[in-house]
Symmetry: C2
Subunit: 283 residues, 2 copies
């Protein structure tokens, strides 16, 4: 796997690869787990060339968030990407991709202030800005993101649509541990006790999805169920439990047309998120 | 000349042209004059294929500005572009390029609030957003803009740099009437009397540039000279007379390293702008 840190070199390499096939981009912040590797696998199935990126994006962290302690496991990441079949890793420094003096930002208004955006002001502005830069540098045909960051997917899909990027956003299913915990680079922050309590997120989602499957359509009932279950773990501090439109992230009153059900919670200093897409009901 | 109004058709046509040569994009709002046609001529000299666009961008007009009465001369524009040698005209409707529900904006912070941006809140956000869309749809190698909109050039150059667009911004010199008035689509708003008074803009700039050429370096002296001359036409209401860095649009105290000197004024309901780039002094 070729590792590129320079923007002009990445642009030239992508231009060259594009001459004989399609390009996939898999943007990551490193600290890779099986969820990321499933994105690489999907990209390899769809496209001729797979380019991964690792960039711990300072623009998407708030002042009191975990930018400094975010896990950085570059050597292991390179080995995993090589084994998974990525052809190029683009790994620019912060000075390269977010130089002093840069002043241009992409704002996806509305969506960026919902779900995670409501709790992380400026987060999705930072995400959209860096992803747009990666799209401009690599010009991929397709870009792969995990369904776990469902709000991020909604923001990026709106950005691509509104700004006419020639890239298809591909969402890949959440990858879970055997006990159901959604994989996350932040899971390694958890103590053993927190780790066992953390399964309550997906169990709350499962319960709500089960109610929907058995005919419950009232979003407030699903939310109340999730909140009740999350409250059963007193050390889990709920940030949101929501039933929303997966495209706009606006709250839904009922789930007959399908919905994104999503939760976010703090366990100690660690913020975890998880979600389920529940399907439309066919009468 | 082929006229395209659909985004997907424009993307496909540009993709096809790019297979055998370089692409120039000349974005305009129509009501074309010799200044615009000089952009087409420059584009033809540099690139294999020239694509012009006409789009009166609603996002860049303020609520009390002249969007509704902005001159629309589509048939004459098509004839002029054909004669000048444009290969494709992209002329999407407002519904096509700015559909209801779009919520993504590009903000070039700082620069967008200086010069014209200080007097037209939101203007450069609208410009940057639409130009980014055109760049994404056409993916040109080069894009041509008039030096007359010097602040727009600074904003777009910052956007291209900060977001890593693979496009070179080319600025073309201001084209003037025989008496020095800078060509503008808005000149047609002027009454005969306003038209004759309007030459004070370039005469004020000439006077300041002349002082600089004769050794004056103090920006305040140049500004005072411009304001005194503009005041000599009492029906000309000055909006700004400025000496700034052409890249950042920040005020300069002295002109030893070169400067953008720029003026904006209202004549009745018509807002006119003009500028000179004055060179660095070599000791």
């Amino acid at each position: 796997m070729r590792i590129i840190t320079d923007i002009a070199e990445m642009q030239a390499a992508a231009r060259e690869l594009r001459r004989n096939g399609t390009l996939a981009l898999v943007p990551t912040m490193g600290a890779l787990h099986a969820g990321h590797l499933s994105l690489i696998a999907a990209a390899k199935r769809d496209c001729t060339h797979v380019i991964a990126s690792i960039f711990v994006n300072p623009l998407q962290f708030g002042p009191n968030e975990d930018f400094d302690r975010y896990p950085r496991t570059f050597k292991a990441d390179c080995a995993a990407l090589t084994a998974a079949g990525a052809e190029i890793l683009f790994a620019p420094s912060a000075e390269t991709l977010t130089p002093a003096g840069a002043s241009t930002f992409i704002e996806v208004a509305g969506i960026s202030d919902r779900l995670d955006g409501a709790h992380r002001p400026g987060h999705f502005r930072g995400v959209a800005t860096i992803v747009a830069k990666l799209f401009n540098i690599v010009a991929p045909d397709r870009a792969y993101f995990g369904q776990k960051d469902a709000a991020q997917l909604a923001v990026l899909r709106a950005m691509v649509r509104d700004l006419n990027f020639s890239v298809e956003i591909v969402a890949c299913p959440i990858v879970r541990e055997a006990d159901g915990l959604a994989l996350s680079s932040r899971n390694r922050y958890l103590t053993a006790e927190q780790r066992s309590r953390a399964t309550i997120l997906h169990r709350a989602l499962d319960a709500a999805a089960g109610l929907h499957a058995r005919g419950e359509r009232n979003a407030q009932v699903l939310i109340a169920t999730m909140l009740r279950m999350l409250a059963s773990e007193p050390t889990v501090v709920v940030e949101y439990a929501a039933v929303v439109d997966p495209e706009t992230l606006m709250p839904l009153a009922d789930t007959a047309s399908g919905a994104l059900i999503a939760v976010a919670a703090q366990l100690g200093d660690t913020r975890l998120i998880d979600n389920h897409l529940i399907g439309a009901v066919h009468a």
